[in-house]
């Protein structure tokens, strides 16, 4: 295969990456935006979503689509409930102090990860995709349309991209149009004032923390037919989500999505053509430099 088809394949892979990354990072960004805390356990909620997807899909007999659909609904709800419980029992009690919250969520990270290791075990397990038809892609060669061998994608990958777009649109509608979204934005703007107006800020925090984790779990359910569920799978999305949220400007949802597309695509392209380790070193250092020299992110507004 030549350069052109390679690039298009990299773009498609990158888009799938970007879609899943956008969901994960928006969850992290939502929590940071409203609650002003960094959730280091975010990657473990993602991992929990994938493991639950495996558990649910193996419990339900019949067509794989049935089990997958059930996982798509149940896994985010369960993960969201666990996160909300962690918020009420731990984070609320350290009063959302930024540094204490990071230490506490590191603790939650290890607890979740090790509990999964004890119960689910160290194996990586696949989840069957609900549908997975190969699509061969055409390519123009010497004026003729050809279908190069190995050049193609699957319906499922395209569906992941579509699903992520639909979920993000729904989230945007909820945040900008619904009453719950209004309450979240009010809390984000001024916590004291929201309290003074009688908003149940504690409950809003729990819901936001749960929703952020549920988004990560949703992303994991979508990706698990392509990758596999494993108890250590949370580290990579956590780091990437961090990078995306920082580049996009902490707490800015629009910036987060733009950055997710940027990072997801370039990650897909770079890892096709370069050593993935070197790419990761450079992107990690780049992000550190962004934080050092432009702490409001590339797209964020400088806060007064």
């Amino acid at each position: 295969m030549e350069f052109g088809p390679h690039l298009i394949l990299a773009l498609i892979e990158g888009s799938v990456q970007a879609a899943v990354l956008a969901l994960t990072a928006v969850g992290l960004s939502l929590v940071f935006g409203v609650m002003r805390v960094v959730n280091v356990a975010h990657g473990e909620f993602y991992m929990l979503g994938a493991v639950l997807a495996w558990l649910i899909s193996t419990q339900i007999a019949g067509h794989p689509a049935l089990g997958f659909a059930a996982a798509l609904i149940i896994a985010p709800l369960v993960v969201g409930a666990i996160a909300a419980a962690a918020d009420l029992s731990i984070l609320k009690r350290v009063d959302y102090d930024p540094e204490a919250t990071i230490v506490a969520t590191i603790g939650i990270l290890y607890i979740l990860q090790q509990v999964v290791l004890m119960t689910y075990g160290p194996e990586a397990r696949p989840v069957e995709a609900p549908f997975n038809t190969r699509i061969a892609l055409p390519w123009l060669e010497g004026g003729e349309i050809v279908y190069p061998w190995g050049f193609g994608t699957t319906t499922y990958k395209l569906a992941v991209i579509g699903a992520a777009a639909a979920i993000l649109t729904t989230l945007w509608l909820v945040l900008s149009r619904s009453k719950a979204g209004l309450m979240m934005r009010a809390t984000q703007l001024d916590r004291e004032m929201a309290l003074a107006f009688g908003l149940p800020v504690e409950r809003i925090y729990a819901v936001v923390f749960g929703a952020g984790a549920a988004l990560a779990a949703l992303a994991a359910v979508l990706i698990v037919p392509i990758q596999q569920a494993h108890y250590l799978m949370g580290a990579e999305p956590l780091l990437l989500a961090f990078i995306v949220v920082i580049i996009g400007g902490l707490g800015s949802l629009r910036g987060t999505i733009v950055a997710a597309i940027l990072i997801g695509l370039s990650d897909g392209i770079v890892s096709v053509f370069f050593s993935p380790t070197l790419a990761k070193i450079l992107s990690t250092l780049l992000v550190a430099m962004v934080l050092v020299f432009r702490p409001q992110g590339l797209f964020g507004q400088r806060r007064a």
């Binding site: 960094v38 731990i90 009690r93 350290v94 930024p98 540094e99 204490a100 990071i102 230490v103 506490a104 590191i106 603790g107 939650i108 990270l109 290890y110 607890i111 979740l112 990860q113 090790q114 509990v115 290791l117 004890m118 160290p122 580290a235 780091l239 961090f242 920082i246 050593s275 380790t277 070197l278 990761k280 070193i281 990690t284 250092l285 992000v287 550190a288 430099m289 934080l291 050092v292 020299f293 702490p295």
Partner: protein, 311 residues
């Protein structure tokens, strides 16, 4: 003052006495704990006394360790020079990251240090031909000698660990009792006020950062030299979390806290890893419980309740 000296000198004397009575297994453990508490004490200078929370100290620990290990494996140097190379590596890495990272504060400092450490870990993996990545390498046996003393011998190893421990304990004690240390504590308590009083806050933070990183690197170099193994796992995230956990458990901002925390956590992990392969759950539970109920740590609580003079 005299009771401070008595307490800290007493600990060193107790550790020296333990050399003669401990069974081999615990004797070896204690040597490890002493070297690891050097790491924790280095971390404590920055976190406990200056109030700067770093999530990337594994970078300095590993810089010291690899500086030492590579001086042996690539340069063919002996133990003493290799140890010096480790110190120099940790010092330079700490100075460069400090220069950059201290432009940020609070949560951003945590993330920046985390990112730097992650980049360091990936660099170790990237140069796998030299570092042998996750697998690591064994430090050449002939290099594990300093001044004719064979560091493979368990007794020599114990005394070397105790010497490093004593030096660091005395050094940090002297540091926090000195005017310089008081300024660090002032910065921790109220940075704005320290600045208003005319202190060049950035310079103090930078010096604390470099001291902290260099001590951590010294611990890494010594750990590699005494126990003969250098590996990428020492550069990974858990080794950035451990000193935080040790210091939190023992008591941040107390001179003895790092040792007490390391001692407790070492045995907690030792016991639980005998019970389950998921022993890191102990780390998680300890972190959550500490942050919820005892943020001052063991020595911090002791200082609050019984011994207000504890440095």
């Amino acid at each position: 003052m005299s009771r401070v000296l008595l307490l800290h000198g007493g600990l060193i004397a107790l550790l020296a006495a333990l050399h003669f009575v401990l069974p081999p297994y615990h004797h070896g453990n204690l040597a490890r704990i002493m070297v690891l508490s050097v790491y924790a004490m280095g971390y404590n200078v920055m976190f406990g006394y200056t109030g700067l929370l770093s999530l990337g100290h594994a970078l300095f620990f590993a810089a010291g360790m690899y500086g030492m290990g590579l001086a042996v494996s690539l340069g063919g140097f002996g133990g003493a020079i290799a140890l010096g190379a480790g110190l120099a590596a940790a010092f330079s890495v700490a100075a460069i990251t400090g220069l950059l990272a201290l432009r940020t504060a609070g949560v951003q400092l945590m993330i920046v240090t985390l990112m730097f450490a992650q980049a360091g870990y990936l660099t170790v993996l990237y140069f796998g031909e030299v570092t042998r990545g996750d697998e690591g390498f064994v430090v050449d046996q002939t290099a594990r000698m300093i001044a004719g003393l064979d560091l493979r011998n368990e007794a020599v190893r114990y005394w070397a660990a105790l010497l490093a421990f004593g030096l660091t304990l005395g050094g940090t004690l002297g540091l926090v009792l000195s005017p310089f240390g008081h300024v660090l504590i002032a910065i921790r308590e109220n940075e704005e006020r320290a600045r208003m009083l005319g202190y060049d806050v950035w310079r103090y933070k930078f010096v604390a950062f470099v001291i902290s990183g260099t001590i951590s690197g010294a611990a890494g170099a010594l750990y590699g030299l005494l126990f003969g193994y250098v590996g990428a796992s020492f550069a990974a995230v858990p080794y950035s979390i451990f000193p935080l956990l040790w210091v939190l458990l023992g008591g941040a901002g107390t001179v003895l806290g790092p040792f007490v925390g390391t001692l407790f956590m070492f045995y907690l992990i030792d016991i639980s890893s005998g019970l389950t392969s998921a022993y890191l759950i102990v780390v998680g539970i300890a972190l959550v419980l500490l942050i919820l109920f005892a943020r001052a740590g063991l020595m911090g609580e002791l200082r609050r309740r019984v011994m207000p003079w504890l440095p």
